[in-house]
Symmetry: C2
Subunit: 346 residues, 2 copies
DNA sequence: AAGCGTTTTGCACGCGCGTGCAATTTTAGC
DNA sequence: GCTAAAATTGCACGCGCGTGCAAAACGCTT
C-alpha cells in the first residue's frame, strides 16, 4: 500500500472497489451491491461500505461499469457551426437537460473538411447512449448502423431531407408557414421590391428562404433579388449597402438570420440616412437578444430554441430508455414578433 | 451469428475485436496490434485485419481500452455561466483545440445550488485525462486529489484566489493593469463623476472593478458610485437610467461587461437624449461582436479569448501528456479599443 | 434444539481490450 | 541445407466492474 497517507507519491492508482472492500472488510461484490439501488444487501454492510467509500473518496469507474451495463450515460452532441452563438445557446440547454436526467454531454464539432460521418464514426468509440445532430445529417447507411447498434439519433435543423424519416427523430421548425407569413406580411405592407439575404452563395437556399421566395414569386408585380451576408452583421451591412445603392433598391428585406438584419438596418439608417421602416422594412430570423435592443427593435421571427431543445432531448432520452419507441418528427412554429423595423399592421 | 446480414434484429451486439479476428482468421491480439501504431505485426496480417475491420465497420471500444491504457482521451470542461455567450465562445474554441489533438470534450455545467466540487466529483467517474474549469474553482482538497490521481487542472477566470497556485494551472487576464488603464483614460478625459456598473449586488467586486475603483479613489475630486446590471443589456439600460436620472448623474461609466455598456449607451442616447461621448463616456469589457457595430461603436477592452483558450489548452495537454510538468500561471493583457463612446484622446 | 424458508454473502465469470511471454514462423548467414 | 537470430503470433492474464449461483448466515416456527 504505497502513498496511502501523506505525500502524494507517484501517480498512485486511483481508488477502486477492491480498496473500499478491503477497508470495509467485505468482498468486492458487496461494494458493487452497496452502490446498486435494487441490490440484495443488508443495511449494516451497506453502511460499512458507504463509510469506507466516503473515507477513501471512492468514485466508481464508469468506463469499467459501462462494459457490463452496456450503457455509458453519455450523449453525443454533434454540432456544425459551433461559432454561431445561436447554436451554442442550444448547447447549454441540451447539456442542462441531459445533466438533469443523469447523462453527460460529449461535445463534437463538425468543422471544415471532415464530414459528419467521419465525426460520428469517431464518437462511436465512446459508445454513447444516443446522439443529437445539429445542422448536419449523416449518411443513411451510417444512421442505420447507429440505430441498429442501439444508439438512437435525433436531428435538429435537417432541412427538407427526408431520407432519415423513421430512423432518426427530427425536431425543427415549420419553415413553410414561416416563409409564407413573412412574405405575406411584407406584401400586406404594400412592399413590391423585395430582397432576400441568404448566408452563402454556394449553398442551397434554406427552407425558410425557399418558402418565402415561392410565395413572393406567386404575387403579381413583385420582384425579388437575392444577396448574401455570411450570417454576420458585417456581411449584412455590406449586402444592405449593395442592395440599397443599386439601380433598383428594395423597399423590404428578409434576412434569414438576425445579425444580418441588424447590419442592414444600420447600413440603411446610419450610412444612407434612410428611414426604417418607412422607406424600408426589415425582417430577421431567430430573435437573438440584440434584436430586442432599443437601438434596433428588429421585427423578427422567434426561433423557439428552448422548446426545440426540450422536445429533442425528450425524444432522444425516450428512445434511449426504451429502445422500441419509434422515431418521431416534430415541427414547431416560429411566431413573428412585430417590432420597429416593419410598418404597424393596419 | 444473429442478424449478421439483412434485417436489424434485436440490439445485436456491437462489433468487437473478436468478430474482426474471426473474419480475418487471426487471433484477437493480432487485431489489437494492427490498431496499435508501434506494435509488432507483419504487413500482411495488418492488411487482413484492416480489411475485416472496414468490412464490419469495426470501432474499438474506448471504454474497454481505457481500462488498460489508463487514459480516456477525454477532457472535462466545467463551466459556470453557460448562458453567457462569451463563455460559450470559449467552449467552441476549447473543443476545437482538443479535437485537433485527439481528445474529446466532456461538457459539464455548474448551475444553481450544486457546487463545483459536486460536479467535479461526478465527472471523476469518467476518468477524464484532464479538466478545464471556467469561472469556478474547486476546494483545495478536491483539487489536490484530482492532481494526485493524475487529472491535471487548469483554471480560467479564477479571480484573485491563489490557494490553488502550484496545483492547478491558471490562465487569465491582467485585471490590475486593465482597471488602471481604464480609470486613467477616463481621468485623462477630465471625467470626475464616475460610475461603475457591476453584475450583482451580493457578489464581491470583480478584480477589474476593484482595481478600477482603487485608482479612482486615489484621484482627487473624483466621486464613484456603483450600480448593478446583471451582466445584461436590459440590466445595464435600467442601471444607466437610475444613474443618469439621479441627483448627481455621472459623466463616465465603466461597465464590467459589454452588454451592460451597450444598454447604458442606448439609455443615454435614445431615452434621455444625451450625447455620447460628449456628455457621457462609456467603456465596456470583452469586445463582443455587437460592440463594434456601427450603431454603438463601443469603447471597450478586448478580452483575448482565443489566446486565453489556446494557452489554457496547451498548458493542460502539456501536463496531461507529461505529468511532471509543473502547474503554471499566465496572465494576458486586455488591449483597450477606443471607439466612439469615449472622447478622442488628446 | 432441530427444521425450514428467507435473506445475505462470496466466488467466479465475463464485459472488450492491451500486452508480456513463450511458442512459432520467417529470415539471414554460412 | 542447416542453424542462429529476428520477426511474428497466440496464449493467458488483468484492467474495474456487475451479476448469477451456490454456500453461508439469519429468522422463525414447531
Amino acid at each position: 500500500m504505497s502513498g496511502e497517507h501523506g505525500v502524494p507519491s507517484r501517480p498512485s492508482r486511483r481508488i477502486t472497489a477492491s480498496d473500499v472492500a478491503r477497508l470495509a472488510g467485505v468482498s468486492r461484490s458487496a461494494v458493487s451491491r452497496a452502490l446498486t439501488p435494487g441490490a440484495s444487501i443488508s443495511e449494516k454492510t451497506r453502511d460499512k461500505v458507504m463509510a469506507a467509500a466516503a473515507e477513501l473518496g471512492y468514485q466508481p469507474n464508469l468506463m469499467a461499469r459501462s462494459l457490463m451495463t452496456r450503457q455509458t450515460r453519455l450523449i453525443a452532441l454533434v454540432m456544425a457551426q459551433l461559432r454561431n452563438p445561436f447554436f451554442t445557446d442550444m448547447l447549454g440547454m441540451f447539456n442542462r437537460h441531459f445533466q438533469e436526467r443523469g447523462y453527460q454531454t460529449l461535445l463534437l464539432a463538425v468543422e471544415g473538411a471532415q464530414g459528419v460521418d467521419e465525426v460520428l464514426e469517431s464518437v462511436f468509440q465512446y459508445q454513447p447512449d444516443g446522439a443529437v445532430l445539429v445542422s448536419c445529417s449523416p449518411s443513411l447507411a451510417l444512421a442505420e448502423r447507429c440505430v441498429r447498434d442501439g444508439m438512437p439519433l435525433v436531428v435538429i435543423d435537417r432541412g427538407a431531407d427526408t431520407a432519415l424519416d423513421g430512423i432518426a427523430s427530427h425536431v425543427w421548425i415549420r419553415s413553410d408557414r414561416l416563409g409564407l407569413e413573412i412574405a405575406e406580411r411584407l406584401l400586406a405592407e404594400g412592399r413590391r421590391r423585395v430582397a432576400l439575404i441568404e448566408g452563402y452563395a454556394g449553398e442551397p437556399l434554406s427552407e425558410r428562404a425557399r418558402c418565402f421566395m415561392e410565395r413572393m414569386l406567386r404575387a403579381e408585380g413583385v420582384s425579388v433579388q437575392v444577396e448574401y451576408g455570411q450570417y454576420s452583421y458585417a456581411g449584412g451591412y455590406a449586402a444592405g449597402l449593395r442592395l440599397l445603392r443599386s439601380a433598383s433598391p428594395p423597399d423590404a428585406v428578409f434576412c434569414i438570420a438576425d445579425p444580418m438584419a441588424l447590419g442592414v438596418v444600420d447600413a440603411a439608417r446610419l450610412e444612407l440616412g434612410l428611414r426604417v421602416p418607412e422607406a424600408l422594412s426589415v425582417i430577421g430570423f431567430s430573435d437573438i437578444p440584440a434584436a430586442a435592443w432599443r437601438s434596433h427593435a428588429l421585427t423578427t421571427a422567434r426561433l423557439p430554441i428552448a422548446e426545440l431543445v426540450s422536445h429533442a432531448a425528450d425524444a432522444l432520452l425516450q428512445r434511449v430508455e426504451s429502445p422500441d419507441t419509434p422515431a418521431q418528427t416534430l415541427l414547431l412554429d416560429c411566431p413573428l414578433i412585430p417590432r420597429g423595423t416593419t410598418l404597424p399592421q393596419p
